[in-house]
């Protein structure tokens, strides 16, 4: 009998799919194009997810809770050399799954509700809800999967869903470009992920996480350790694609071509979260080297995209780059071993980023598809609900104490500091440094955004004339305006959005406050999340020292590591404190790690808690202060500054020119190769074929001449002879077709047999 939680989770998975199937076929025949079906089914899924959440998170409240179920999907039979072999598909429910399910379905439901307002009047209104359904379905599939194969399948389905939604306005070239770019960029990452899966499968003949980890733990990985590192990094490439990490981040800002509710879904709950979630699932097999790669990729991404966000004009683009930047934090967190902090940030970010996107959608909706912040301003009076909720979410993003964002970001940065110290300082300090630098910029660009949008005078009239009107609107479609076509353009009064768009904003802003996650506004570690989602113990033997250390008692191993890192001041107190932390479950949270490196990092992360708080608060003040200086007090003129540092400004404004670089190298290169190969195929390969044919034809022509005069002459002579002989031989003919056929066959075979007999000799 299936556990009731499993049944519920299957319902959560299938209800959005049902919504997709019903709506894709019948949306035009249903009243209101079936939006109530989409909302109803996904809402029901949310209800189921909430029940799971209640039972698992609230009632059990056990960090070790785990429930699994699977069935045989493929049966290979008795495979030679392996034995009976099956591919199983299954579901695993643990605390993380329960939390993710609730988060994904909640945000999806809110996005559905919001879209009933935002997308109202669109000719493909019904299809929009169908696509939202399959998007939600695919994401839930990733969350529930218990093995690498099914996660890869849902992973690609997320790719398809994003393709459909980003290209929702497919009649715009920019949207069609963006959807293709998103899919292909993701596929590049998927190749890596797939190779990683293949490495693990080739060792163990299974795709199941749990089995793979058991095997690695038992040390029966038959390739060298480098392959395990490679497997980790390759699997991580999948995350690089989906979670838009450098160097595959380029698709995400373009994905703004999709309708704004989609952006909220992609950026908060579904697609980009999938990457980080996946890294969490494979966390325990990451070798220290793989973790370092991940940490640096995350740190660099966080920093780079923050620098880009500073100069963008489009309200959604700023948010897009902030998403990339925040994802960088999460990946960084995974890399430095702060597993639970990274996931915590994933959760808090989901709520406040969804709020920001839906808020920006409200603004765009109210401003009649104006997305350029330069022509906004003064909206706080006209849209008070939007203003308040947007501001709360902004503060959470910037990491102000009392918000949820502060709790999670601080935890990651503390982890980064701890990581740098354990790894031995030096270059590794770059990781927290980039993280803190990104924090300054985050505070700055979000301050800039709030100021430009909500404060000051309305600048609608300042917009250059050629940007007005419907035609220009179409021409500037590349900015990613949402085309509705249900309202006239031009000057209108700006109004607050209706309740179905306002309610999601209020709820999401509420979920961005610290008290939802932790009773202590300064320490997320005291909250329920960090208690339930604890960093799992690694299954990989980390370093040489650690390998030896595995035979030592934990405090001794700590000492060993501490000796290796005495150049960092914080570590000096480590051995004693560490022993305490390891043996007494230091201060009531965090499990005991047998692996010395992991134990060391956990300890140093904890030790750096206050350092991180101090530093990040300082960064926050610096960033917001800068924003005030520039935009509120106008002490520094942003335009003049931009002129003064023009190359730097352009570098940021043009997104470090990554698009141009990729276009010039990879895309142009591929097209060139394809043209060359097509030419080669048509002229060389086929040319040889035709050439051979020509030679034969020439020969045949010559042969034909010989044939006509020499051979045929002989034939005619022979015919004459035959005719005469035939008259005699006619007597022995039977007239039966079978006999003739047999004679022909015998003759042919006889000839060949003779030929072969010759060859054998």
């Amino acid at each position: 009998m299936m556990h009731s939680l499993i049944q519920l989770s299957i319902a959560v998975l299938l209800l959005p799919l049902l919504s997709f199937v019903v709506l894709i076929f019948f949306n035009r025949r249903l009243p209101r194009m079936g939006d109530f079906i989409g909302l109803g089914l996904v809402g029901t899924a949310f209800g189921c997810a909430l029940t799971i959440f209640w039972q698992v998170v609230v009632q059990h409240y056990d960090p070790a809770f785990r429930l699994a179920w699977d069935f045989t999907w493929l049966d290979f039979g008795n495979v030679p050399g392996v034995g009976p072999l099956q591919v199983k598909m299954g579901i695993v429910i643990d605390n993380l799954t329960a939390i993710m399910l609730a988060m994904v379905t909640l945000i999806s439901t809110l996005v559905h509700l919001y879209s009933t307002g935002y997308m109202h009047g669109d000719p493909k209104y019904g299809r929009f809800f169908a696509y939202l359904g399959i998007f939600t379905f695919s994401m839930i599939g990733i969350v529930l999967s218990d093995n690498l194969f099914s996660i890869y399948m849902f992973w690609e389905l997320v790719g398809l869903s994003s393709y459909l939604l980003i290209g929702f306005y497919f009649y715009k070239d920019s949207a069609a470009d963006a959807q293709k770019k998103a899919f292909l960029t993701n596929r590049v990452g998927d190749i890596g992920m797939w190779l990683g899966i293949l490495i693990l499968y080739s060792q163990y003949h299974t795709f199941g996480y749990q089995e793979i980890y058991e095997h690695i733990k038992n040390g029966d990985f038959h390739m060298s350790q480098a392959w395990l590192t490679a497997a980790g990094v390759l699997l991580f490439m999948g995350c690089v694609g989906k979670s838009a990490q450098f160097p595959l981040h380029v698709w995400l800002p373009d994905a703004m071509e999709g309708p704004t509710p989609v952006s909220a879904l992609i950026h908060a709950a579904t697609m980009v979260a999938a990457g980080v979630y996946f890294v969490a699932r494979i966390f325990v097999l990451l070798t220290p080297e793989a973790q370092q790669v991940i940490a640096f990729v995350g740190a660099f991404t966080a920093f780079m995209s923050a620098t880009i966000a500073i100069t963008q004009h489009d309200i959604k683009r700023v948010l897009a780059y902030s998403t990339v930047s925040q994802l960088g934090y999460m990946v960084l967190g995974m890399g430095v071993g702060s597993y639970s902090a990274a996931l915590f940030h994933l959760l808090t970010h989901a709520f406040f980023k969804a709020c920001l996107f839906l808020g920006s959608g409200a603004i765009i909706h109210a401003m009649h598809h104006e997305q350029d912040m330069r022509w906004m301003g003064g909206l706080y009076k006209k849209m008070p609900w939007t203003f308040v909720t947007f501001s709360i979410a902004t503060l959470a993003l910037a990491g102000l104490p009392l918000t949820s964002g502060f709790l999670s970001k601080d935890a990651i940065l503390a982890g980064a500091l701890g990581f740098a110290q354990v790894e031995g300082g030096g270059i590794y300090y770059l990781v927290p440094a980039l993280g803190f630098a990104a924090a300054v910029m985050t505070a700055f660009y979000m301050g800039r955004q709030v100021w430009l949008v909500f404060f000051g005078e309305s600048r609608t009239h300042l917009k250059p004339a050629e940007d007005h009107g419907h035609d220009a609107h179409a021409a500037h479609a590349s900015h990613g305006h949402d085309d509705h076509g249900h309202e006239d353009h031009g000057h209108h009064e700006v109004h607050e959005v209706p309740w179905n768009m306002r309610f999601p904003l209020v709820l999401l802003a509420t979920l961005s406050v610290f008290i939802v996650f932790s009773p202590d506004p300064l320490d997320g570690g005291k909250g329920w999340f960090m208690h339930l989602v604890q960093t799992p113990a690694t299954v990989v033997a980390s370093t040489e020292a650690a390998h030896e250390g595995a035979n030592l008692s934990v405090p001794e191993a700590g000492k060993l590591l501490a000796e290796a890192h005495t150049d960092t001041q914080h570590v000096e107190t480590a051995p004693a404190a560490h022993a305490e932390a390891a043996s007494t479950e230091g201060e009531g949270h965090g499990p005991v790690y047998a692996d010395p490196r992991q134990a060391e990092i956990a300890h140093m992360t904890h030790a750096n808690h206050w350092n991180a708080i101090k530093l990040s608060s300082l960064m926050l003040l610096a960033g917001i202060g800068m924003a005030f200086i520039v935009y509120v007090f106008r002490i520094i003129d942003p335009d003049k500054t931009a002129q003064n540092i023009r190359p730097l400004y352009l570098y940021s404004f043009n997104k470090w020119y990554w698009d141009e670089i990729y276009d010039a190298t990879i895309i142009k290169g591929s097209m060139l190769i394809s043209k060359i190969l097509a030419w080669f195929d048509a002229n060389i390969v086929d040319g040889i074929v035709n050439g051979v044919a020509t030679i034969f034809r020439k020969f045949a022509f010559f042969n034909g001449g010989v044939d006509k005069y020499v051979v045929d002459g002989m034939v005619n002579f022979t015919a004459f002879t035959v005719q005469t002989t035939g008259a005699v031989l006619r007597k022995i003919q039977t007239g039966k077709v079978q006999t003739y056929l047999v004679m022909v066959v015998v003759a042919v075979l006889g000839y060949f047999a003779f030929y072969i007999a010759q060859l054998i000799k």
């Binding site: 030679p80 890869y152 009649y171 959807q179 292909l184 797939w194 195929d681 390969v685 015998v746």
Partner: protein
């Protein structure tokens, strides 16, 4: 049962012979009935098939016909050749896991082909007679277990195919037809030589005389020492393997023998393209699995790597060439080359996952490519052009068509949830698992990206964005302000009509269903594939020498 499924179409052909040429509708209906009856038989065979029986080869000491099913075996031509001993050619049919999938596929594609031939107006009578002949020959190839019989069916395919392309084809049809004909003939001449060599090297333990039975040939114990292809004659076995491989590789088609395919496809009428890509290409890889590899397992072991490399070349080279094509049909033709590369790669891995993936890919490629060519035909019927750049924004005007195109295109690029994904994935799983083919697999994954690239790019250029200024159709705005398009001399329905949907929807359902749960087809294959892997394994070889 198998005789019925093989010869039903030819009976229909004979009936058509008696129908006056003016009765076009009757001719079509007779063909359709035959194809449908074939389909019913195929389903019956499928239901009666016992998937626990392996086939492939006679078990040592077991039944001489092995664990094949639905066997029909009678002496066909028996002759005394004096010093060479008696010549025995048998009428020997039977199915195992490898062939039953192909039988199902052939029956399915034959029905689709008849439906797709409905609009053909030129010499309908001749067309359908040839079509039915082709149908019989294809089916015969997949169930024949006597090499000679196989060869007869193999050659029998050439003739109707030549005329079907050469008469009912496009502007350059004669060139394409003769190229197809000569290329394939070139391959089959070598096959004939090897066949005769094999005949004189193998003794059927049952009769004690030479035999063409593939079941007997697949058992290395039946080879006589000192004969041309028997043990101790390694050189000749290598040569025989190579020429046989080339013969089959031409059909696949494998680089560098592939250039007949784009030409044949571009010129062939839609139903013939469907048959060509859907069934005929599979004969190449089927021949490898049935004849080429199990008869020469030790040569195959030595050549695995090379075959894998050619598979990878097919995958990547085909994808790049597809990317550069302007003609949609040519693009789909190159995509076939690319996708058949996966079959080769899976075969080269020679383990259960790879071989399963290869065979499953053969089935899936059949259904998916049939869809692709049908869809190309739909737009060609309307616009009389297949130039990708001449279209644009079609999604706004032909939503149902676009929807089906998206299913087929994404199936072709290997989207999970659609059948093509599972087979490609298994091919990679299998080829990566073998250390020898691992580097090849690592390179071939690039095909995943480039495959997506050409398909999505063509999708974008034809269906998304705006209508192009020099597009092949005219724009009209009706009273409600809605835009419509019409093609110049197309009188029919703009979007897919009932006949087109009848062909496409079942294929689409199969593609989706087998992508979600592959066991209905996969379950038929596993026992046979595992057996085949054993036959090909080096362990099996050591027993021979």
């Amino acid at each position: 049962m198998l005789s019925f499924i093989v010869f039903l179409p030819i009976i229909a052909g004979l009936v058509i012979l008696a129908v006056p040429a003016s009765q076009k509708q009757i001719i079509r209906i007779v063909s359709l009935v035959a194809a449908l009856a074939q389909g019913v038989l195929a389903v019956l065979i499928w239901r009666h098939y016992d998937p626990t029986m392996a086939g492939i080869v006679a078990a040592p000491g077991g039944s001489p016909v092995g664990s094949f099913q639905l066997i029909e075996r009678i002496p066909w031509i028996t002759l005394d050749l004096g010093s060479f001993g008696p010549l025995r050619i048998e009428y020997f049919l039977g199915v195992d896991g490898i062939s039953i999938t192909m039988v199902l596929l052939t029956a399915l594609i034959s029905i689709i082909g008849v439906l797709s031939s409905w609009p053909i107006q030129k010499q309908v009578k001749g067309y359908f007679i040839l079509y039915n002949l082709l149908s019989t020959a294809m089916m015969g190839c997949f169930v024949a277990l006597d090499f000679f019989l196989f060869y007869v069916f193999w050659e029998l395919m050439l003739l109707p195919m030549y005329f079907l392309i050469g008469i009912w084809g496009g502007p350059n049809r004669e060139y394409a037809a003769i190229k197809f004909f000569l290329y394939t003939l070139f391959g089959s001449v070598f096959m004939l030589l090897v066949m005769i060599g094999l005949y004189f090297s193998v003794i059927d333990p049952l009769t004690g005389s030479h035999t063409f039975s593939l079941v007997a040939m697949a058992d290395q114990a039946n080879y006589i020492k000192g004969t041309i292809l028997g043990p101790g004659s390694e050189q000749w076995r290598y040569i025989a393997f190579a020429v046989l491989f080339v013969g089959f590789a031409i059909k696949v088609p494998m680089f560098p023998f592939h250039t007949w395919l784009p030409d044949a496809h571009v010129e062939a009428p839609t139903p013939i393209s469907v048959i060509l890509a859907g069934v005929l290409l599979k004969l190449g890889t089927y021949g490898m699995m049935r004849i080429n590899f199990p008869l020469f397992p030790e040569v195959f072991q030595a050549g695995m790597y090379v075959i894998g490399v050619f598979g990878a070349i097919n995958i990547i080279y085909g994808a790049f060439c597809a990317l550069a094509q302007q003609d949609l049909k040519k693009m789909v033709a190159y995509s076939s080359i690319s996708h058949m590369g996966y079959v080769l790669l899976g075969l080269a891995a020679a383990n259960s996952e790879g071989m399963l993936g290869a065979l499953y890919q053969m089935f899936n490629h059949g259904t998916i490519t049939a869809m692709l060519f049908l869809l190309v035909g739909v737009i060609y019927d309307r616009a009389h052009s297949r130039q990708i750049d001449k279209f644009g924004g079609l999604a706004s005007y032909m939503p149902v068509y676009t929807g089906v195109v998206i299913v087929a295109w994404f199936a072709s690029l290997g989207l999970p949830g659609l059948s093509g994904f599972i087979s490609e994935a298994l091919v990679f799983v299998g080829s990566f698992r073998e250390p020898i083919t691992r580097p090849i697999a690592m390179v071939s994954v690039l095909g995943i990206v480039f495959g997506a690239a050409y398909l999505l790019w063509s999708l974008q250029r034809m269906f998304l964005g705006k209508r192009k200024p020099d597009a092949l159709y005219e724009l009209e705005v009706d009273g409600h302000g809605h835009e419509h398009i019409h093609f110049h001399d197309w009188k029919g329905k703009l979007d897919l009509d009932a006949r087109e949907l009848t062909m496409l929807v079942p294929l689409g359902i199969i593609v989706i269903a087998l992508g979600i749960y592959p066991m209905p087809v996969m379950g038929l294959l596993t026992t046979s594939i595992n057996k085949l892997v054993q036959v090909l394994a080096p362990v099996a070889m050591s027993a021979v020498h």
